[in-house]
Point group: C2
Chain length 293, copies 2
Amino acid sequence: MAKKKTDFESYFSAATSMVEARLRAILPRRFPKELYDAMRYSVFSDGKRVRPALVLAGARIVGVNARDVLDAACAVELIHTYSLMHDDLPALDNDDFRRGKPTSHKKFGDDMAILAGDALLTYAFELVADNVSRLSVGAGAISEFARAVGKDGMVGGQVVDVKHGSLGKSKARAAHYLDYIHLNKTAKLIEISAKLGALLAQANKKQINALSKYGRAAGLAFQIADDILDEGHESSDFKNSRLTYPEVFGSSAARSRARELADEAKKALGVFQLSASRKFLEYLADFIVERRK
Amino acid sequence: MAKKKTDFESYFSAATSMVEARLRAILPRRFPKELYDAMRYSVFSDGKRVRPALVLAGARIVGVNARDVLDAACAVELIHTYSLMHDDLPALDNDDFRRGKPTSHKKFGDDMAILAGDALLTYAFELVADNVSRLSVGAGAISEFARAVGKDGMVGGQVVDVKHGSLGKSKARAAHYLDYIHLNKTAKLIEISAKLGALLAQANKKQINALSKYGRAAGLAFQIADDILDEGHESSDFKNSRLTYPEVFGSSAARSRARELADEAKKALGVFQLSASRKFLEYLADFIVERRK
């Protein structure tokens, strides 16, 4: 386990170093200063870079260099960042702090948090499109990416969370909305991250489906694990009495569901030969449900 | 002139009918209801559909069927719509009415106006990517589209308008910012609309450059004409004492600059043989500066 953990950490840190350097390069300081400053502030605020690491691992597991999909990896991180910036706004979750720092709107004003979020969202598509052009593959990956993070994906999940994500419903109704929210708001971005590298690499259907299953299960596990970690904390979900998995089903059921999903994620990787990337993804699925912060 | 006007109106109305029908088809009523309702409300609120008509005309002038680029035409309208929704927010222009109806945030709340805007922006890229896939062309058009409407395009223009777009500067500084704002906030979306059809049609460089020049000049003319029309009106720009062309350079200079730009736009079309589409675009350039509302 100690050895495995070291391998995991070195794989992860090699991936995040690449991502970090590329993000710095594509987000320089420039005019309009207020916009670039706001984008940089949120992108460089100690994110764990799990999603871009998934993109790189998903490419490597099908035999493609991480460097070939690096811009797509940065793109998913920009999407993740913009979604946090908009979610934190007073009109939505009204959070003043994230990762111990003032949120974008506290630092730059609501106007800049909205516009810098819009700019990051747009830039993400520019980066994926440039990556697609460089690899001379079809635009299908861009469509899938858009679907994962749009009205029937991440944004839809956020809308349902805002409109139907509070407590006080029957258990059946709560469970229905909770599934929708977890799948769309959280899991679909993680799913597309896991499969985007393979899509860009034009991997075969079996491989793409395996990464898709892996990402979806890991993404659902991630959200339940997050809910469990938030229990008892003065978190935003708690503050707004949001629906969470442990609230609806109880802590013990939540824990076993997260475990089950992590196992499902790992099982999906069975179509791939054993490799450093497969091991990384397996360890990551366990890490997601076992982490303590 | 009467005949010309009739030709213009029938070309325009044929284009907008196609766009209108397609927008209805791609934005049905569905779950999440609150999100689709908010998207539909703003997309179907009497927009003139100038930008999508440009996409269709730009395709036809290079010999491609309007129908082949219809989704890309809808995409530019979704971008235009999302930008208005976000600009109208209390954190930005704080407008309660647009085209005689309550703005999105007045009707659905700030949260929905933000999220439905995000959804339209994302959906625009899904539509352009789908269109690119169907035509089996490269993703370069998607990158150009993203650049036109992102941090160094429309969003950047909006940021500079918010941060530096108020009166009380030296004339030289005001002129500098005004150029940036008009070019980025308004003209670049009109420019990409004019050239997007030709990009998707893989037209030659000369044709694409001509449409690019046309769109940029027409777009700049459009913004100056808008500023002239707003003079004396209780408009949002007036209310917030925003920089406008007539404020900085005087009404008469504004009028002749708009005229000059419309002529420049028409001149760029000289590379194309005379056709219904060329005549439409020529008339549109004149219409932009001569309209009275």
